[in-house]
Symmetry: C3
Subunit: 370 residues, 3 copies
């Protein structure tokens, strides 16, 4: 059966930005208005009449047209400036002169932040559709303000308290006694139990928050489960990615500090404490009772053992294996973790020695000749 | 309370193949018919009457009986040929003579493919049970053909279009505007939003497709979310594993090329593009805006940073950490990634130097003597 | 809108243990009674009247008060003994004399086990609330004893058999023909298919059990799926973490041995067999057809390739990459895996050579000077 849908599936690899099936759109806006919202400086086009010109949407440099806004944030894509048709381009000061003569620009020392605000102007986050779906189960004593959106098949337990304008997605389960702040977005198929959430918290689909930590003692007949009697405390403005897991504490709380951002498939063990504005990238894991300061970055697939302390503003590289405390502000990578500089020096040293060993007639084929 | 179920749980470690509680069964079939379906050559048994002999099912070499079919694909299991009772064995030409005298064989240069076809003959994939479960919620304007199977508690959003003979498993959530092709199998508790799926796509239980990518800018008062305005495009014949996560693009689409196979707990970042027939094994992660050619293999727990290009047919080893572009056809492993040969040479060199250091009377106990 | 909830979210980082919104409480108990339950020796306080003193709950050393019980298990927290107000402290014999004069103690050679029993006395696991929620879908022929608790939106397939006193959490899906033992706790949004579970099995929220393994053959037109015709057998007393994935076997069963404990986001491939009382920590993955003996530990983020054997009591370190068989009792770490001692000797050797290379005036800046 030939399907006309086929082309739309495999065909257009450039298209699809802000597809009207998925996103609402505001506008159009003038370049001046956008520059103001972005907190940047408007630079009119050199070779185009600018009067009454407005912009109706956004797009990548490769495909944006004369009535669309684009941006350059990553230096490696600078060559795309030469061929772009974008009518308005957000750039850092260093690239202001490379903007094509027919394009206007918004010049900003924080072009990615400026972009985020311009994109949000065209496509504001959807407001809650106030109301409780007829299939939702809301137990006795739960407080659910009329401004909230409660999706199909949601379960809200006894004594739950939810703040104003919060969205609870389809199939989400909010366990007995949980409190959730205002303006939160709880994704589809999230489970939250034994937890307290601040305002403006976003949990992406499938995140599991508050289940038992991994705790057991060796008994005479096998392992015996240690009761997990703490909670999860998620402070204001935290985001937690899809299918991530955050265990509740055993004898104190697991805490995710205000403003922190966790990506997908991240694991946070029991009693772990993150400070403010930490970043934990996809598939990283932090073991139990470890404490992070503020503004710590944990890159993808990194792992931290339990019971250690990571100082504020430390940066832990991708796939790093951290087995001991890390000082504030340190940059580490490798498994076991070491300073970035040391890691790459080691890589270079080993390569050199390996080449020498192979070049000197010895066996470097991967078999140990000793 | 003694339970008769107990033995079936802990007892029989060989059994259980094609348990009739879980799998339907076709047949029996003759060896000739099976060889034809498999695209292999039938080799009758040397010491057994072959007339009217038929086979009723399949099993592993260790436990298959005279009316069952088995196979040898992995050289390390060749010794099992000696003791097997299997009536018919699928083997590569190199093993044709090692088949027991009482067993027939199907000889094939692609024995695993042959096996897949024989197993499918006995146990074809179940067809959709056409109909919509009474508990499913289907929003206005959604197109759901009568040939589809829609499970309990499914939610299908506004304007969704689904092709013929597609199965939507229990509790799956298909967001507004999503299109799904024909003959797809959407697993239980899958969430799909902001996405377009081709035909014959399989999503395993718990996969989360189309949520916001991990994008935020540093603002004066903390992080500010960057709107994620792209889609996820999943081309024909793609399979995505249980609890995997695929973020939608920010200013372009995230694309999973036709025929690609992703395993469980895989993470795909925003704007990432996979070519045709890529393989991504369990717990691997690909960061945002990275592009893979066709037939790229990413082994288990490997990680790729963002904004790089991986050439077609490159193979990235397990736990590999890829920080820069990889040429077409290259085999890399290690963190940071390097050619296989170099990696194992490094391992050998370091072992040799370490032994020398320890043997020469220096401290090799794991403390740095400097 | 100022919310009084705010303080409770961001304020108290010490509190929250056994919050009455989430946990029921038994007691109070005397120190003697608790010591007996714990299997330890009661040591009365040196400087406090002990008559009729009872304890009403538990807490961490930092915040527990005179009517609360605490414990010291990890040597690194021993300094907390000096300042604690806890009325009763569970300690190993080595710390018995360091308990403050105003505190009683329970002295145990297995303090963590003792703690687990004391905590369980105060906060026993909640019993099932017998009954089937009105929204649950139970298909024909399923056996669900009246003692079970079946939550909202649960789906129980045809021919399913469940034992006494088992809890099936909200939105869990039990596929056709699955058997589940007595006293099991199946978490919210779990999916189980093609599987047999013993007694006292706990599956945490979002775990996905029994989906197809990752099996396909290369055909002339792309990959062809190999039918996955085995089951998952989960023996008694197994626990499996949140969002973990266990694929069913292809031609034999995937088996999780009695008493094993798997953490969150763990991947178990098809045909894999774990012996009794194995431990698999978060984000570790075990590839297809690999066999583990009994009491094997696989630490966080470790990966095992397929078709290998791991001997009983082997310990595989965090982030370890195991490419070949491991002997019983071995301790390995690194990628590729090697004995602990060798790994740390290598780390020290490389550090020394790198320093020498840098110190000798050569380029150690991370660029390869060759």
């Amino acid at each position: 059966m030939a399907r006309s849908r086929e082309t739309s599936v495999s065909g257009d690899r450039q298209g699809g930005v802000a597809d009207s099936r998925f996103f609402t759109r505001q506008g159009p806006f003038t370049g001046q208005a956008l520059a103001e919202a972005a907190g940047g400086t408007y630079q009119p086009p050199q070779e185009r009449e600018d009067t009454e010109h407005t912009y109706g949407g956004i797009g990548p440099l490769q495909s944006a047209g004369p009535t669309e806004v684009s941006f350059l944030d990553n230096r490696r894509y600078a060559p795309l400036l030469d061929g772009t048709q974008a009518g308005l381009i957000i750039v850092a000061p260093a690239f202001a002169k490379r903007v094509p003569a027919s394009s206007a620009a918004i010049v900003s020392s924080t072009p990615y932040l400026a972009w985020s605000r311009v994109a949000r102007m065209f496509h504001p986050a959807p407001a809650p559709k106030a109301g409780v779906h007829s299939t939702a189960v809301i137990e006795e004593g739960a407080v659910v303000p009329a401004s909230c959106e409660i999706g199909p098949f949601v379960v809200i337990g006894r004594g739950v308290e939810i703040g104003e304008n919060t969205i609870i997605g389809s199939h989400a389960i909010i366990g007995d006694g949980v409190t959730i702040g205002a303006h939160c977005r709880i994704g589809a198929q999230v489970v939250v139990s034994h937890a307290t959430l601040g305002d403006r918290v976003t949990l992406f689909p499938g995140a599991k928050i508050g289940q038992d930590g991994f705790g057991f003692a060796v008994g005479p007949d096998g392992f015996e489960t240690v009761p997990q009697l703490g909670r999860v405390v998620i402070e204001h403005d935290v985001e937690i990615g899809a299918n991530s897991t955050i265990d509740r504490g055993s004898v104190q709380d697991t805490v995710i500090g205000a403003g922190s951002r966790l990506d997908n498939l991240v694991q946070i063990g029991h009693n772990t404490r993150l400070g403010k504005c930490c970043i934990v990238v996809s598939q990283a894991g932090i073991s139990g009772s470890t404490e992070l300061g503020d503004f710590v970055t944990v890159a993808a697939q990194a792992g931290l053992i339990g019971h250690i302390r990571i100082g504020s503003k430390a940066r832990i590289g991708a796939q790093c294996g951290v087995m001991s405390d890390i000082e504030a502000g340190a940059d580490v990578i490798g498994s076991p973790a070491m300073p970035f500089r040391e890691f790459f020096r080691n890589v270079a040293t080993l390569r050199k020695l390996s080449k020498k060993s192979a070049g000197g007639g010895q066996d470097g084929s991967g078999k140990d000749g000793d």
